[in-house]
Symmetry: C2
Subunit: 368 residues, 2 copies
């Protein structure tokens, strides 16, 4: 059966000063609010101050949990949930990139479910989650519109995804102002992550006309921003375009999931500490070239929306954008390949990927 599904219940609101403009909506989330952020970024970009001002004006009480690290751990989310319960918060506001936004989802769920660690990734959360507002401050994760929370899983030696409709935020507030102090490198890596979501999403079995429409739009918007990405200098309009493209790409993977690029990238991040978007960008070009050999028509559409002629151009383009490359030993490549080849995510893809393909993509991504 040719089943297609689309579901993305988050209310997405975008624009300058959207946080203060939506203060009444924020007020409706309850009296006591847990603010989940990383150590610095939410303050540096000004979003935390805007949220605190809104809470103050509304007579709401904010409880700050600013202990989310990059690639948040299971310990971190249990600690956040402990505070949420202790402080008896009614809702969660997440401010940041993928790490605080994903951690906030796990915290909002654990605040309502007394769950053993073994059941954390089960996707069955009988009491749902506290209502959430997500405020992204990078342009890549799309977490504000997905039902996923990706945590570092020491036991599995990789990053593992929680997935449940309960993890959708109620509201996403997108203001490009919060991106203006983001280092160019972070803009580039997160934008490449969003591109990876669009492209990988289109090449999964769950892709459909609903997700295709958003993927095409996000890819076109990435392509439109390419000159700025290449010169590493962004106007407000560029940042706004990337922020919205990132949400569109998130709406794609909310329905399609990701596949081999994300799976492989998790090894780079877990073992080599490589930034998530960078890890995907190191692999995305080779993957699209492989896909083009198997699905020339579909990849032709992707390449067309990139305003390119061939997947090889994307590889070259990403080489120009991503200047760091990991050094990998043969043993490392073997180990990562075994790990990626055994991942269920790969079966989600439309592209047949062998262990040899994975090995070659890892080798292509490495320093020569």
């Amino acid at each position: 059966m040719n089943m297609q599904q689309y579901f993305m219940p988050v209310r997405v609101m975008c624009g300058e000063r959207i946080v203060s403009d939506q203060s009444r909506a924020v007020a409706s989330f309850g009296k006591r609010i847990l603010l989940v952020t990383g150590r610095n970024s939410a303050k540096i970009c000004g979003a935390l101050q805007d949220v605190e001002q809104v809470l103050k004006n509304n007579g709401q009480i904010g409880v700050l949990f600013d202990q989310v690290m990059s690639n948040p751990t299971i310990d971190c989310v249990y600690e956040g949930a402990r505070i949420a319960r202790q402080e008896q918060v009614d809702a969660v506001i997440a401010i940041g990139g993928g790490s605080p936004m994903d951690a906030a989802k796990a915290i909002a769920m654990l605040a309502k479910n007394d769950l053993a660690r073994a059941d954390l990734f089960s996707g069955h959360y009988p009491n749902g989650a506290l209502p959430m507002i997500h405020i992204p401050t990078t342009v890549g994760t799309g977490s504000e519109v997905t039902p996923y929370a990706i945590l570092t899983n020491e036991e599995q030696q990789t990053k593992t995804s929680m997935s449940s409709p309960d993890l959708f935020p109620k509201l996403a507030l997108l203001d490009a102002k919060y991106l203006e102090k983001l280092p160019a490198r972070s803009v580039i890596y997160t934008a490449v992550d969003a591109l990876s979501h669009s492209i990988e999403g289109m090449l999964t079995k769950k892709a459909n006309v609903f997700t295709d429409s958003m993927a095409y739009q996000a890819i076109s918007m990435f392509s439109e921003t390419l000159p700025a990405l290449e010169t590493r200098s962004f106007s407000y309009a560029d940042l706004e375009r990337l922020l919205r493209a990132s949400a569109l790409a998130g709406m794609v993977i909310a329905n399609t999931g990701t596949s081999v690029v994300h799976t492989m990238g998790y090894s780079f991040t877990y073992f080599k500490g490589i930034d998530h978007g960078c890890a995907n960008g190191l692999l995305l070009g080779s993957f699209l070239e492989l896909a083009q050999r198997q699905l020339p028509e579909r990849v032709g559409e992707i390449v067309h929306h990139l305003r390119m002629q061939h997947a090889k151009e994307l590889t070259a383009c990403l080489r120009g954008l991503i200047l760091e490359r990991p050094s990998l030993t043969e043993e490392e490549i073997d180990f990562y390949t075994r790990q990626a080849a055994s991942s269920k995510k790969i079966q989600n893809g439309l592209v047949a990927v062998s262990a040899d393909d994975i090995r070659r993509m890892f080798a292509d991504a490495a320093e020569r």
Copy 2:
């Protein structure tokens, strides 16, 4: 402020046998279900039988309200709500085109709110609405993914729209099988309605990158189906494409609303009994030509996705598809023009439309 919003919380599931495949989801809606349909179409297409079978297998009880006429009246939805209360139903399943789907929304809301007729269109429904499943059996309305219910309003001598997030169904089940017995004329008129949603939606002030992505996709899918529409003969793939395009177009107007074409079309339907999609199709070409003079770049994109060069080609194309034309007296044109020019919907548009423009579009639509 450049505020943009996207919200469409319906879970959309498409595919062959989707109703029986989703029997467990149907079971979760409760014990007693009101089935809202027109007099015949839900039976002729087989959807009613499929739903009744699922209810029977699930041990659920279906209560049939098959009294919805084309362009449902306020009386009709109050009567449906009376039955919903009397039968103490837990949920509503709508099967049909726009009329049963819209009526079902009003019924589901009125079943939970003891509302005076004067407050029916207020948009404030304190107790929300019964949960709904919508099963479209035409390819135009998009009602399965919108927060609108449009009723015949005798007092205002037009059709009036109820709008509230409470009116979004929980679930939309799309199976192109239910379209196979639809007369070619109905396929064409409802497909033209969906095209009108995409085009009008793109030319409203609320249009944004999220709705644009869906509108482009829906327009491309219409264009891809044009040969079948012209020959009035549809393969299963054509019907499936139109059904999904219609949902995409519904997702557009769920966020943008419609504007002058729908407003004007309501007069044709109210006073002349012209089918809703036909009414829009009689006006859409002239409207796009007017828009092209004011917004050549944006309309250029629309025309490009239609695989056309100029809006005039759409006018010609619609003249080929829609063979009936109303005869209008000068007095009628004057009266309709005054009515349309005073509608709030017109302010929703990006295109400046004068009373003279409206008069000319009505005259262009009339029999010569």
